[in-house]
Amino acid sequence: MAKDHRAGSKVRGDKLPAILMANLLLEGDTVFLTDSGWTLDPSAAKIAHDAETAAAMEAEGKAAAAANVVVDPYLVPVDLTEGGHAIARHFRDAMRQKGPSIHPDMGKQAEFPPLD
């Protein structure tokens, strides 16, 4: 079977700041890396401001995938809001931070406060 790469941000150019996103293996939910493991809450995502932190986070993601905790971890370039929250720069990643646009009652947008 040909190899699909569904994961990976489509943002071109500058890749920082960034957060690390994945899916939980067991549940499937989108999760974000923090200083202490993974969170379902997009506002709690750890933000890498420099390449070194980003590389360390990426390595942590790969280790978590190898340990069968998450699937498809990848760095997501973000912009910061006035409130200091990370908003994905690409609309596809932003959809994963919020949930389906057609169902405001489902996904992250229904379970967590807005990113502002």
Binding site: M1, A2, D4, R6, K10, V11, R12, N23, L25, L26, E27, G28, D29, T30, A65, A67, N68, V71, D72, H90, F91, R92, M95, R96, G99, P100, S101, I102, H103, M106, G107
Partner: protein, 562 residues
Amino acid sequence: MYRYDEFDERFVRERVAQFRGQVERRLDGSLTEDEFKPLRLKNGLYLQLHAYMLRIAVPYGTLNSRQLRQLAHIAETYDKGYGHFTTRQNLQFNWPKLKDVPDILDLLADVEMHCIQTSGNCIRNVTSDQFAGVARDEVEDPRPTAELLRQWSSLHPEFVWLPRKFKIAVTGAEHDRAAIKVHDIGLKLKTDDTGEVGYEVIVGGGLGRTPMIGKVIREFLPKDELLAYLEAVMRVYNSEGRRDNKYKARVKILVHETGEDEFRARVEEEYSKLDGPTINAPEEEVERIAAYFASPAYETLPEVSEALDDARARDGALDRFVEQNGFTHKQPGYIALTIALKEIGAVPGDMSADQMRAFADIAERYSFDEFRVTHSQNLVLPHVKKDDVPAVFAALKAVGLASANAGLITDIIACPGLDYCALATAKSIPIAQDIAKTFADEARQKAIGPLPIKISGCINACGHHHVGAIGILGLEKGGRENYQITVGGDASEHAALGERLGPGIDAEDVPAAIEAIVATYLGEKRGEETFIETVRRTGPEPFKAGFTAFIEARAAASEAAE
């Protein structure tokens, strides 16, 4: 309807047990994701943007009330209370958890359902005409053929690792409602000069990034030779189809690169080497399968129902519903009804658990406990007594299922798009919702007439945009969603691929662009021509001109605003 025999039952239960073991081994780390992924895909389980997605097979689109009630139960217990009917007559749940999937598969097996052949590089769930066994223009019910193909292809040892997925559609009718010319194999039941029943065999159609209309490989194949002949086609594909490049791996590319005549010659050569009688199904088995699809016990009724005619005269909404969603039945006094899962503003193909239960009751009481799923993401009640239509309409209306727009401009096919799908490049459903709202007025829809709009959120074309009378393809351009529009696509026996009208446009401009295309049609239309008939006569040029004028006016307006 087909009922499982002991072999079907055992096969499905064994697959559930196997998958339960595979999930356990994935969770304890014995299987890596790369090892597990092809296994989960063989059981219809994908990982999408927000969650896993489970695709459930609905062989040739036929279901009963017990199955739908079980789907409602699964939707409420393991998902978010709804399901989504797809363009391959299947059903998807968008939020299951991996740990629950083996239990869900067991519940499906309890009602003779499964997720086999809904993914992976195998022969997929066979699709068919939603009016199979009902249509007056039918040579023969295509479902026994589809069921025979299901049994032949399920775990066929030679064809479980094909170069790429493989889709077969069957129709028994003159008017093609199963889109057989855009499938890997399309089969049409027909009769020859002597009245013998057989198949026209079409190979190499498909949509996706390289759309192609299938080629007739055999004008007439005697009915009892079906399996051996298809085995020859599959063997040529399996050995010669490309495995080096997934974008060139479908049989349509092989037929195209080999050439139609040469491909036909290779199939015939392979066929001549096969020992047909050892492959073809024995006659008694074909008859056993066909018996499951015998017509239900219709009452002998007059063609015209005075009760229905009186009710239609009194109730304008009922009258519009029957006129638009009714389909002529072969049995006097009966009608088939399309249930458009296309209320204005709804998600095309979505159905809530409450609607499923209500609809199951309706199908059980009024349609011999049977209904169909269409590739247009609608449902069909195939055998309703005309006398019962007012009661059916009232029951449908009570649960928001009485939308009288089947086949009209608001009856839009849309793939899940970027709202759910990991492969999507743009949103699809919100575009459908916006267009439906723009054309919500019933009188206006009726004045425009039949106009299938089909929307895909990426080049893979799950929304069949290439064969939409108006097709919309969502792509990414410069970090934004961008929509290309085509006209002239047709999925019927006049199969044609749409032609692009011009540059891609932003999402918010799509409804106005559709307005411009409709205005061109109404200006060009002669007599009673439908949209597609007008495009066929005029070609795309007037539509391109209208679209260009729309783009220029739009650019001028946005400049003025700045």
